[in-house]
């Protein structure tokens, strides 16, 4: 399995990513995800306690932990789907409760095993990524006043307003959808019903949806559950290459082998953070045994 950075074709882009990651002082280039002292519990007992985690642009971070360790809760907190009881959660520098650039975040869940019999094609799924960009949001993105826009380009303005009201995708949106499909290698399957695809192919479609939304951050919650081994390998190759192109990847994963092979940085969680650092240091540390308990398997034998 090739991991990111080892592929000669992506080495140059990896370099770009590294420089982007270090350029955190520039305006708007602060941490993509920033949790500070976050505590949350569904009942009085916290599921996540005093967790601080900052993910810089372009990083590839994996969050690992045993079942019930609060991984999924942490993901919901950082996506703003849950409000922390204590501490603050920020996305792209904005508090999650005020964050309104949702299209910058691509979310991929454990869809592979979902048996939803909804008749929907791959292209229709990917198209959803464009939804936050169409409608009235697009109109307000135009800096010109309505009168100026009408005078300068009346036909195009009328078309834009009609599209905004009806929520129709413009031709440039469809071009982005097609690009996203090509990027994940699903162009040939664009008109297939999503339920006819294998688990791995389905997950590629969801990645394409995030790309169509022009996401800067991909958050994946155990995306390869129920996906066959061969497709898992291809899926992680795709993630690595996307990351090499500059997309920040936050992977919540149960499979430690995959994490060690793929991610540059590991966060080991079991209610609180047991480890946060480079993957090599994680393999050598005893964080795993402490977080998972004494029965945890050693990572010493994992092939990197």
């Amino acid at each position: 399995m090739s991991s990111h950075g080892t592929d000669s074709g992506t080495a140059e882009r990896t370099g770009e990513r590294a420089s982007a990651a270090t350029d955190t002082d520039a305006p708007g280039r602060g941490p993509v995800v920033d949790l500070a002292g976050v505590t949350f519990g569904y009942t009085a007992t916290p599921v996540v306690e005093d967790v601080s985690l900052a993910v810089d642009p372009g990083e590839y971070v994996a969050v690992v932990g045993p079942n019930g360790s609060g991984k999924s809760t942490l993901m919901q907190l950082l996506l703003g789907l849950l409000e922390p009881d204590a501490g603050t959660a920020r996305l792209f520098g904005e508090r999650t409760d005020r964050f309104d650039d949702g299209e910058r975040v691509g979310y991929v869940a454990q869809h592979a095993s979902a048996a939803k019999e909804m008749p929907i094609t791959v292209r229709e799924v990917v198209k959803m990524g464009r939804f936050p960009h169409v409608g009235f949001g697009r109109l307000s993105a135009d800096d010109r006043t309505a009168a100026t826009a009408l005078r300068e380009d009346p036909l195009a303005t009328v078309r834009r307003v009609a599209n905004a009201v009806s929520g129709r995708l413009a031709s440039e949106d469809w071009a982005i959808v097609d690009d996203a499909l090509a990027t994940v290698g699903m162009s040939a399957f664009a008109d297939r019903r999503i339920t006819q695809l294998s688990g791995g192919q389905r997950q590629r479609a969801f990645i394409a949806r995030a790309l169509a939304g022009e996401a800067d951050l991909l958050v994946l919650d155990e995306p390869t559950v129920g996906v066959d081994a061969e497709s898992v390998e291809a899926f992680y190759d795709l993630l690595a290459e996307l990351n090499a192109g500059g997309i920040t990847v936050l992977l919540i994963e149960h499979d430690l082998g995959a994490v060690v092979e793929q991610a540059a940085r590991v966060v080991c969680l079991n209610r609180e953070v047991y480890f946060d650092g480079p993957t090599d240091a994680f393999v050598d540390s005893d964080a795993l045994a402490r977080a998972f308990g004494t029965g945890a398997r050693s990572l010493a034998g994992v092939d990197r």
């Binding site: 882009r13 975040v105 929907i120 229709e124 990027t183 399957f189 590629r204 022009e214 290459e241 090499a244």
Partner: protein, 360 residues
């Protein structure tokens, strides 16, 4: 007229608060009401004219200009055939197929409220208007119970369904005698009792429902297909869920006129289930479900007229027969598809370029 009654009711409430507001408000509301219900009455007139022409060309007895009630029943049926599967498609794929049943029973409570008010206060308000109001309040209750108590949706539906029916039966038993007879047409639906007023109410509901779905279809699709991703992308999932159930309440009450309380939910579910079997894409399934529903409605109304049977029942029977055919066609399609399907095991990415989908 129902618009006038609604305006009178509202101004009566406001009069209790501030009597000086009544006169200007009353005339204003009356004008709005005349506009809202004037347009559908005009549409109705054009529809009669069209049906007369179809009668002269086809000679179909059920379209005879003497039978205006049949013209109205066909119009109502055709509108139901569009809006029920339109909303039903979103409901079925959210696994909310039974919400129609729950809201129909609360619609029944709304009818009972209307009949009760008419009997006690002699208001002359259309029971369909009170049914729309009560069903929409109930629809919100279903959502709020789910949101507030974290209960499964079917639990809140069961609570609202039984409350609605209990309220309806209690109100009707309070009045005894006369009301129970009037209630039959709401329970089982009746082609011959579609009055111009209730047809106008339905046309207004139709415009609101189709318009709202047309404007929010992207958001409704996203929330239906992947609620979490929709929430992450910034959509207010709860808000769209509320829009969805309110629209469902409107469809249910609109369709109740010819389908009756007991069978109305079938139109939300059966054509959609049939379309799901034979469609590949979501937009195709929307279109196919509308076509299947229209087929069932037209065949059902014709059978009801010529066979002298209850329209609601026979429409549902046709819808189910069409569903069975769709399942058979779907099985044949997928058997053929499996034989013709190319190898889907291998995918080659054509040179991954992460910038492809990115704007910056």
């Amino acid at each position: 007229m129902s618009a006038g009654v609604a305006a009178t009711l509202l101004t009566a409430v406001l009069a209790a608060v501030d009597p000086s507001m009544v006169l200007p408000l009353q005339s204003g509301l009356g004008a709005v009401g005349d506009l809202v219900f004037g347009v559908p009455h005009w549409v109705l007139e054009q529809w009669y004219w069209l049906m007369d022409w179809v009668y002269y060309f086809t000679g179909l007895e059920m379209l005879n200009p003497r039978y205006r009630f049949m013209h109205r029943a066909i119009l109502v049926g055709l509108c139901v055939g569009v809006m029920a599967p339109l909303i039903g498609t979103f409901l079925v794929h959210r696994q909310l197929a039974l919400i129609g049943d729950a809201l129909a029973h609360t619609g029944f409570a709304g009818v009972a409220v209307g009949l009760f008010l008419n009997a006690v206060l002699d208001l002359g308000v259309s029971p369909y208007l009170t049914a729309v109001v009560v069903a929409m309040i109930a629809a919100l209750c279903i959502e709020l119970i789910s949101e507030a108590t974290d209960a499964y949706n079917d639990v809140s539906m069961a609570i609202v369904l039984s409350t609605g029916f209990a309220l309806g039966t209690t109100l009707i038993s309070l009045n005894a005698g006369g009301l129970a007879v009037g209630v039959n047409q709401f329970l089982f639906g009746n082609l011959s009792t579609v009055s111009p007023g209730s047809a106008a109410i339905l046309l207004v509901l139709f415009a609101v429902i189709v318009g709202t779905v047309a404007l929010t279809r992207n958001q409704l699709l996203y929330v239906t297909f992947d609620e979490t991703a929709a929430a992450v992308s910034g959509l207010s999932v709860n808000w769209y869920n509320r829009v969805m159930v309110m629209l469902t309440a409107m469809v249910v009450v609109g369709a109740m006129q010819i389908m009756g309380v007991i069978l109305v939910a079938a139109m939300l579910v059966v054509p959609v289930a049939g379309a799901t079997q034979v469609s590949r894409s979501f937009s195709e399934s929307l279109l196919v479900s509308v076509v299947l529903a229209e087929l069932a409605v037209l065949l059902g109304i014709a059978a009801a007229y010529y066979g002298g049977v209850t329209a609601g029942g026979v429409i549902v029977l046709f819808a189910v027969a069409i569903y069975v055919c769709a399942v058979a066609i779907g099985k044949v399609q997928s058997a053929r598809g499996e034989r013709a399907a190319p190898d889907m095991g291998s995918i080659e990415t054509d040179g991954v370029d992460a910038g492809a989908g990115r704007g910056d």
